[in-house]
Amino acid sequence: MPQLAYSERGARARWAEEHDLALMEGLRDGDHLALDELITRKTQPLLQVVYRILGDLEEARDVVQVTLLRVWQRRCEYDSRWQPNTWIFRIATNMAIDTLRSRRSRERSAPGVLHHLRQAGVRQERRDGERLAGEEVQQIFLELAECLTEKQRVVFVLREIEGRPSHEVARILGCRESTVRNHLFNARKVLRDRMLERYPEYVPERLRV
């Protein structure tokens, strides 16, 4: 009985068992099945982080798609001394920062109207009532995070929400750990102040004074 020299299903199954570093090597060899497996693994974590940075799911989808395309296009530049995740998230967060900057620059032309619309959206979300507390907290975060700078926002999402270690956040952003701590300190201060201003019910009484 003739045997198949190459089975796509078999190759996919093999990639599914490999670790990220092996996938990156497969990518470097131009194996599109390795890219497919990488997309399967990274879409959720990338989409989650980028959504929390941008606060807009549609924009986040676009950024994730282009990020994965860039990963493919720059596969030969990948240095195996980097953790694959760090390298991929570096591309994604840079793109998210660019998107955030260009959006903010667009919004500067009509800040009042956009702010009003966003607030109205948030209020509508809250009126929907039967939402889980976690989702409400997420909406509050997305609203308050508007007050952060791009870098503060990325650092806060990666470090405080995603729980990534400071040294990894520093590598993703291409800066020192002390800079990460500085951004985090400022982000936390801004968020605490804004919470006190807009959502005092979430602030402990001893801090309200």
Binding site: Q44, Q138, I140
Partner: protein, 166 residues
């Protein structure tokens, strides 16, 4: 780290040393009781564990398709690039040669003084027959006119070329 110690560090907020705070945050990952209490110690910890974003298999498939399409799309044609430095160098040489070879500064012959432009006001615009002039408005050349044949009074301001009053 004990719960008491972690809570004390979290309550200190940014006053705690970064390493200590990290250790206290790690403690939250393993202690549900402290994790539930954390936002009361530091309100920003409310955002520490936001719900995971649910991504369906269909969503992943969409991303895979989109990347596949983008991957196969031809790259944008780049405009032909002139080697920047060489081009600038050549342009500088041409400009310098031009300045060196050019005759001296152009001599400006004194022009005869130009006569003042003739007044363009050629007088009032002639009125059609069905209109009669009622009043001239100063030196502007404008008129107030009325219809001759109808009862309805129509005021029309007829301006000539220049109503600025020259």
């Amino acid at each position: 780290m004990h719960c008491t110690q972690a809570r004390r560090l979290l309550q200190q907020g940014d006053a705690a040393a970064p390493g200590d705070r990290d250790a206290a945050l790690d403690h939250l990952d393993h202690c549900g009781e402290c994790a539930a209490l954390a936002p009361r110690l530091d309100p920003v910890l409310l955002f520490r564990r936001l719900p995971e974003l649910a991504v369906s298999a269909r969503e992943v498939e969409r991303v895979r398709d989109a990347v596949s399409i983008l991957r196969r799309a031809p790259a944008d044609p780049q405009p032909p690039r002139v080697a920047g430095m060489a081009f600038r160098f050549a342009a500088a040489i041409v400009a310098a040669a031009g300045l060196w070879l050019a005759p001296g500064p152009p001599r400006h012959e004194p022009r005869p003084p130009q006569s003042a432009p003739e007044a363009r006001l050629a007088g009032p615009v002639p009125l059609p027959e069905y209109l009669a002039s009622v009043e001239t408005l100063g030196a502007s050349g404008a008129y107030v006119a009325t219809q001759v044949s109808e009862d309805d009074l129509t005021l029309v301001i007829l301006a000539n070329v220049d109503v600025a009053g020259r």
